[in-house]
Amino acid sequence: MSPSLDVRPSRGLAFRLAFCILTSATLIFTAAFAYYYRSSKDMILAGVRENAKNLLRGAVYRIEAPLSGIERIPLFLARSLGRELPPAEVLEQSLNDFLGTNPDVFGTAAAFEPGAFAGLPRFAPYYCRRGDAVVRVPLGYEDYYELENWYLIPKQLGRPVWSEPYFDEAGGDIVMTTYSVPIMRAENDKTTFLGVVTADVSLDWLRRQVAKISLYHSGYAFLISRGGTYVSHPDNRFLMRESIFSLAEASRSPQLRTIGRRMIQGEEGFARLPDFILGKPAWLAFAPMPVTGWSMGVIVPEDELFADLRKLGREVAILGGAGFTVLLLVIAFIAATITRPLSRLAATASQIARGNLDTPVPVGSGSDEVGALSRSFEQMRLALRDYIADLTATTKAKERLESELKIARNIQMSFLPKKFPPFPDIDAFSLHADLVPAWEVGGDLYDFFLISPGRLLVLVGDVSGKGVPAALFMAVTKTLVKGIAEQESDPAVILTKVNRELCVDNESMLFVTMFLGILDFATGELTFSNAGHNPPARIAPDGTVSWLALPRGLFLGVMEDSVYRTATVTLAPGEKLVAFTDGVTEAMNPGLELFGTTRLHDTLAQAAALSPQALDEAIMQAVNTFAGEAEQADDITVLTLLYHHADGA
């Protein structure tokens, strides 16, 4: 048994089904979910962006509002000083009052160009807070204050500026920024720079303000100066030391540097931060601070931003997972209901393939394809079983028939004289006969024997029907003729008597045609009678072929009182008589044409000069050639008698 007939487990189909459906469903689900997730993310981001923008604008305003408030007094002072320089005590009192009435201001100074104030080489009174008191303190760099940014930059730019944040050592290591207003005197279309008035602002309160700003849990806000230096940052180590650019350099992050550049250029924006900032994905919203020129940023960690979405995503994933499990179970169930009958069917088919046709095919009650397939299969099995039973019976019958035919053929052939030449001592004639039995044994017969010295009886007959009955009938007929011919020498009488005997108890209603002739080979006289047989041919010594005229007579074995008549012809020396059965003339070719008397006539004419044996072979050959592949339906019998000469002639 070949392995291909083995039944594979039905899980194959079920698995494939489940796999394909689940894979497709997963893909669709994943794609849809990914799209949803992405869109939600974008929406959330857009929302956060808006939210952060508003938060930042609010924060920037809150932080800068006091700063712009602080700007007013120095502006006022600078303008009045530009018009007229008061005595030193008045100036110092003004500074003192300014500080005393503005708690947001940490320190204030008025610094003058060499020689500008009362001819002093340098003059820069500075007041700042020490605890609750306002005191005048030395700058610590009186001899070169003109190089400090709070002095140099407003002088060179000719307008008020907020300085970059710096550590003030004189004020006690406080990070501060200074608002400096140039004191300009306009005289005769010429503007002279006299010095600056400053207001220092401690950044501690500003940093406290910024520290209060947060978005989500771990997001934080920070400030960077115009140069990118951190002014406010949760990590104090960054303050005034690191800049967003030094961080970018240390981390080799061009991305952060780009963000820093956007920030210090006064852009408002929202950008993805490199992961190293928070150690996780994060976003940065930033907005410029118009008063100081600094920039505020709010960092929003992405995981907190998307925490709700993630939670929802997890829930959807769990639901999806549960759904897939249910789907898997459903598919498994459906697959099982489909494949269980299929696998049973496959097992049965395997049994049937092994030849076991008695295994009933399990026919489900279902009206689905599997049920239909099972029913068809069962019908096929039954049909196969019946067919094989029929085939067995037919084969047996055929075998029986074949053995019967063999018997019949044996009977037929054993009754025919087959010794040629039959009478080697007699040279008055030559005789040859041949019978080719058909597959189904036709019941032809021929015979010849001497009925008295000088008289030869020849006969050719054809029993109707086939097979054993025909063979037996032929045997009976031949025996009868032989027996009767011992008593009678007239062909008609012989036939009449044979007919009468055959008609007795002929229940099978078989009959036989016969040509019977008796040749007196002393004289060449041939007496003959006919019982419904086809006329033999005569071949004159010159080769002329003619048909022997026969007296009418009914075939033997039908009517008890049939009358047969004898006719006589005299054969010339060298003349041949060719008797045959209808197997010759009715032989068919594949085109269903009959060999016919005309073809026979022609054949005889061509073969006229041959010996009886050669002539018989020629006829057989001609018939064979004509019939070709067509199966021979009837026995073919030819008997040729050549009369040589009269005795003693």
């Binding site: 610590g140 760099y141 070169y144 003109e146 190089l147 400090e148 940014n149 140099l152 930059i153 060179q156 730019l157 500026v161 300085s163 970059e164 710096y166 550590f167 050592e169 290591d173 115009r226 140069g227 990118g228 230096t229 005034m240 030391r241 690191e242 800049s243 967003i244 650019f245 030094s246 350099e249 240390a250 540097r257 820093g260 550049r261 210090i264 250029q265």
Partner: protein, 319 residues
């Protein structure tokens, strides 16, 4: 914390040296600027105990614009100081008898930096612009550069930062390659956006940082000076060989001084110093006669000095 580490190192150094060579000689060094990698060699030599090993109990004062070495040396607060070569020659001409113990930076690292966005690509583009410059000894090279290129600029005093330049107050500013050049980049300007004129190429290639003492000290205690010089050179060598450790040491001084700088900046600075100090042709610590005389000539040409001492009198050869 950093102070504690320093103190610890110091104590260790003291102990090691004391056991080897008896009592340590006290000495004070005043660098010409605030703590930064520009003086990494001294800080490293101190931290690694190189001075103590030479029998020196060295104190490094915090420098800055308010603590010029010239004043501290004159007052006797410090025995050693660092100067640019030109500054030292100028001071000597003005009466402070400085001698050069070791020349560490044999080339000029001074730059003029402008923004390409202002349309400045070649020296001629500076004509008619405002340029901020540091004090007189820094101006010589720049003015030679302007003369050589036939440009006339309005000179604006430059403070201690490049803020004025960043705010657009001047078209170009002075910058040390190791400091302000990086500070400008660290303020968000990309190198591609800047036009840089190195004075070494365009103006005068004046040697910069060197170690100085007073002639008197060199005469009275040559051993002290030799010890100081040897340990400082060893410190520089060690700093260049161990940049990360050197940076740690520099940063401990930076943090103690509350300076608004960061490690990346100091790293850049140290790398620039290594490049400037280890160039071929000038062995670490030596001042060639040619460089000395070229600098003296430039100062005379600029009218900053009338006469300069002989090379042999100015540069005390290494032991």
């Amino acid at each position: 914390m950093a102070a504690a580490v320093l103190a610890g190192l110091f104590a260790l150094a003291l102990a090691g040296a004391a056991s080897a060579a008896g009592p340590l000689k006290k000495a004070v060094l005043i660098p010409q600027w605030e703590p930064q990698a520009q003086f990494a060699g001294y800080y490293v030599a101190l931290a690694k105990g190189f001075y103590a090993r030479e029998g020196l109990d060295l104190t490094i004062l915090r420098g800055g614009p308010g603590q010029p070495p010239s004043r501290l040396l004159r007052q006797g607060t410090a025995q050693f100081g660092t100067f640019f070569l030109a500054t030292a020659i100028e001071e000597r001409a003005a009466g402070l008898a400085l001698v050069n113990l070791a020349q560490f930076v044999p080339h000029s690292t001074l730059l003029l930096i402008a923004k390409k966005a202002d349309g400045i690509h070649v020296p001629a583009d500076l004509d008619g612009r405002r340029v901020s410059l540091w004090g007189p000894e820094f101006r010589m090279a720049a003015q030679a550069f302007f003369r050589r290129n036939g440009v006339h600029v309005t000179v604006v005093p430059q403070g201690f930062t490049v803020d004025l330049f960043l705010r657009g107050g001047v078209a170009a500013c002075s910058a040390m390659r190791y400091n302000e050049y990086h500070a400008i980049q660290n303020a968000g300007l990309d190198p591609e956006e800047l036009t840089v004129f190195p004075m070494a190429d365009h103006g005068l290639d004046l040697p910069e940082d060197g170690l100085y003492t007073l002639e008197e000290t060199a005469r009275n205690d040559p051993d002290l000076c030799r010890a100081m010089t040897r340990a400082s050179i060893a410190g520089w060598r060690y700093a260049f060989d161990h940049p990360d450790e050197a940076l740690d040491i520099v940063m401990s001084h930076v943090s103690a001084a509350h300076l608004p700088t960061n490690r990346m900046h100091q790293q850049w600075m140290l790398a620039q110093f290594k490049q400037a100090m280890t160039a071929t042709g000038d062995p670490l610590g030596t001042l060639s006669r040619d460089r000395y005389e070229a600098t003296a000539r430039a100062l005379r040409d600029a009218g900053l000095i009338n006469a300069a001492p002989a090379y042999e009198a100015f540069h005390v050869p290494l032991p």
